[in-house]
Amino acid sequence: MNHTRPFMKNRYLVGGPITPLLISELMTLGNDDTGAGAVSIFIGKVRGDEIEGKRVTAIEYSAYEEMAVREADGIVNTVRSAFSDVRSVLILHSMGVVRAGEASLFIMVTAGRRDQASRACRHTLEMVKEKLPIWKKELF
């Protein structure tokens, strides 16, 4: 387990992997909100896939950072206004090198009840995939 603190480039992008320690810390955010009965989390990890006979050992992520922040702001606002029971939306994506097995995406949505937490988390995930200007390069 990597216990070093990753470098936050801004509130959505972090340099390197999203470590278990960072995830633990992020999950304590909003712990004092006793109206949040439901927390839905999605974690995306780098898979050690085989591509044309070669094993992926890491992925290097790059982004148009200024646009990514603007788009992520838009996603958070859209989700919060589309799901009235949602209380918080958190999006974090890695930049730079993330090794196979490590996390590169963390989404957390809290809501009063399970239905909107679950649906809003999925919706956020789909919008992250569709709207954030992020690219990857497999390393072997």
Partner: protein, 78 residues
């Protein structure tokens, strides 16, 4: 109308252009798009979109001086 704009290349577009940034002079985005694919034929193989001042273009747009155009291959986050 038209002018010197800053063009940013990302992902596979940066590899196709062999650079991450360059200046162009163009009247509008359609003209700029033609210049880009003429200068960098490899770009034609990438279904890229463009952003104007950090907003994804939904239709061709007139360009003015100091605009920032980003050349965006399909997104791959997640």
């Amino acid at each position: 109308m038209g002018g010197l704009v800053r063009v940013l290349f990302f992902g596979a577009a940066a590899e196709a252009a062999g650079r991450t940034e360059e200046s162009f002079t163009a009247q509008d985005t359609a003209a700029l798009r033609r210049q880009l694919t003429e200068k960098y034929p490899a770009l034609a193989g990438i279904p890229f979109r463009m952003a104007l001042n950090k907003t994804l273009l939904k239709e061709e747009s007139v360009l003015k001086i100091n605009d920032i155009i980003a050349v965006l291959p399909p997104f791959q986050g997640g």
